[in-house]
Symmetry: C2
Subunit: 227 residues, 2 copies
DNA sequence: TTGTGAATGTAAGCGCCGATTACACGGATT
DNA sequence: AATCCGTGTAATCGGCGCTTACATTCACAA
C-alpha cells in the first residue's frame, strides 16, 4: 500500500548460458522454485511490516522476477497470503507441540498451562506471523484447508486437555466447553492486544510482556481450578 | 470517468442563499459540511466491509465530490480513519457509560460485570466499528488524542471499579492490575475472535454470541471473586 | 456596495498496486 | 530432432493515495 522502496533490481544482462555454464549462471529464464521463494519473500515482508506490507510486486522484485510472474503460481494476492499463513501456522503448531511434549503427562492442568504458555510466547515473539494466522482479514480460512485443520486440531487438543483436567478433579466448572472458549479468548486477547498496540510500554524488550502473559495465564488457571 | 454529477445530496442544513426562489440548486460549488459527510460515508464503508473497504475516493464519490476534495479536510487517508475512529469511540463510550449508570452503585463487582457486558454487547453488535477503534493498524492512537483519552479513561474506570471490589472484599487476588489486564484480555479476545471469524457457527443471529459472551464473563468473574 | 484574500472545490497527473493478456523461452517427452 | 507446455517477460488496464495548478465562492473590511 505504501510507496515501497525503489529497487534498481540490478539485473545483469540476461545472457544465454552458452559459455561459462558452470559458474554463476547469470539469470536462468526459469527460476528454480519461484513459488517457494515468493512465500519466503512474503513471509519476510510480513515480518517487516505486517500483512499489509505484503505486495505481490515487491515479492516478485525480491525474487528477481517480473511483476506478472507470481501469478503463474498464485491466482491472486490472497492465494499468496494463504500460502504464507499456512507456513506460519505450521511453525506455530510445531512450537506448541514441542512444548507439550515436554509437559508432564500426568497433570492435565499443568499441560494446559504449558499449552497456553507456548501459545503466548510464540505470539509475543512472532507478532506479525501470529497476526496473519489469526484473522480472516488476510485470507479465507475456509479455503486454507491446512490452516483450518491445524487450528481445529489445536482447539480440540485444548478441549481434550481440559476435559482430562476435569476428570482428574482439577476443574471447578463442569462446562469444559465454556472454560475452553474463555481460555482461548484470554490468550488470544492478550496476544492481539500486544499486536494491536495496547501495551505501549514494552516495546522491543519483550521480557516483561512474557512475564505478564504468564501471570495472567496463572490467574486464569487459579480461577478455573477446583477447590 | 466522472459519472455526471450525482444527485444533489439533499442537504439537510439549509443555508441562506441569495436567491431562494430558485428551486433545487443543482450543485453548489461548496459542499455544506464535507468533512462531516466524508466521515459518515467512511463510517458507512467501515460498516459495510470493514476498515480495509474505506477508500478516500469512494468516500468522495458518495459525497458527490471530486477525488481530490477530501484532502482539503484530511491530509491523508489515515487522518480520515482517525476521525472515523473518534466517532466510533464516542459511540462506544456512550454505550458503556449508559450501562454503568444503570448498574447498582453499591456492588463494585456487579458494576464490573455491567461494564464488561456492555463492552461485549457493543462489540458484538458493531463488530466493524469495534475493529477500527481496537487496532493501531488503522490509525495511530498517539495522534488520535480523543480516542486515546477516552480509552485511557475507560481503562482507569475499570481499574477503579476492580479496586473498589477488592476493598469490599469481593476479590480473591490483591493484584488488581493483573486482574484488570486479564479481564481486558478476555473481553477483547472474545470480541476480536468474533470479528476475526473464530466463531463460524453464529453468523448473523448474534443472540448466541451474546449469551456465550455473558457466560464466559461470568466464568471469569467467578474465578476472580473472593471465597 | 464592492474589492479582496482565504477557504474549498475541480482537473490533471504521478507512481504504485493487483490483475490480465499476448508472447518468448526452454526443459521434458516423444 | 520436433514438439508441447510449464513458466517466465512485456505491455497494459483501471483503481488507489496523493500532489499541484487552477477555479469558484464565502466572509469580511473599506
Amino acid at each position: 500500500m505504501r510507496p515501497a522502496t525503489k529497487s534498481p533490481t540490478a539485473r545483469s544482462a540476461a545472457k544465454p548460458r552458452r559459455r561459462a555454464a558452470r559458474v554463476a549462471a547469470p539469470k536462468p529464464y526459469h527460476h528454480g522454485d519461484l513459488r517457494r521463494v515468493l512465500i519466503d519473500a512474503a513471509l519476510q515482508l510480513v515480518g517487516e511490516g505486517g500483512p499489509d506490507a505484503v505486495s505481490v510486486r515487491e515479492a516478485a522484485r525480491r525474487a528477481g522476477v517480473s511483476p506478472g510472474a507470481p501469478f503463474r503460481h498464485f491466482p491472486n494476492r490472497d492465494a499468496l497470503m494463504q500460502a504464507v499463513a499456512e507456513e506460519a501456522q505450521r511453525r506455530f503448531r510445531q512450537e506448541i507441540e514441542a512444548a507439550l511434549a515436554e509437559a508432564p503427562a500426568g497433570d492435565p492442568l499443568a499441560r494446559f498451562r504449558s499449552l497456553g504458555l507456548a501459545y503466548l510466547r510464540w505470539a509475543m515473539r512472532n507478532p506479525t506471523h501470529f497476526e496473519i494466522i489469526s484473522s480472516r482479514r488476510f485470507f479465507d480460512h475456509d479455503k486454507a484447508a491446512e490452516v483450518s485443520r491445524d487450528n481445529a486440531e489445536l482447539i480440540e487438543l485444548t478441549e481434550r486437555t481440559l476435559a482430562d483436567a476435569f476428570a482428574a478433579g482439577q476443574l471447578r466448572s463442569a462446562d469444559v466447553k465454556q472454560v475452553q472458549i474463555a481460555g482461548r479468548a484470554l490468550v488470544y486477547g492478550f496476544a492481539r492486544m500486544n499486536i494491536d498496540g495496547h501495551f505501549p510500554r514494552w516495546g522491543v524488550g519483550a521480557a516483561e510482556a512474557e512475564r505478564t502473559a504468564e501471570a495472567i495465564l496463572d490467574l486464569f488457571i487459579e480461577g478455573i481450578a477446583g477447590p
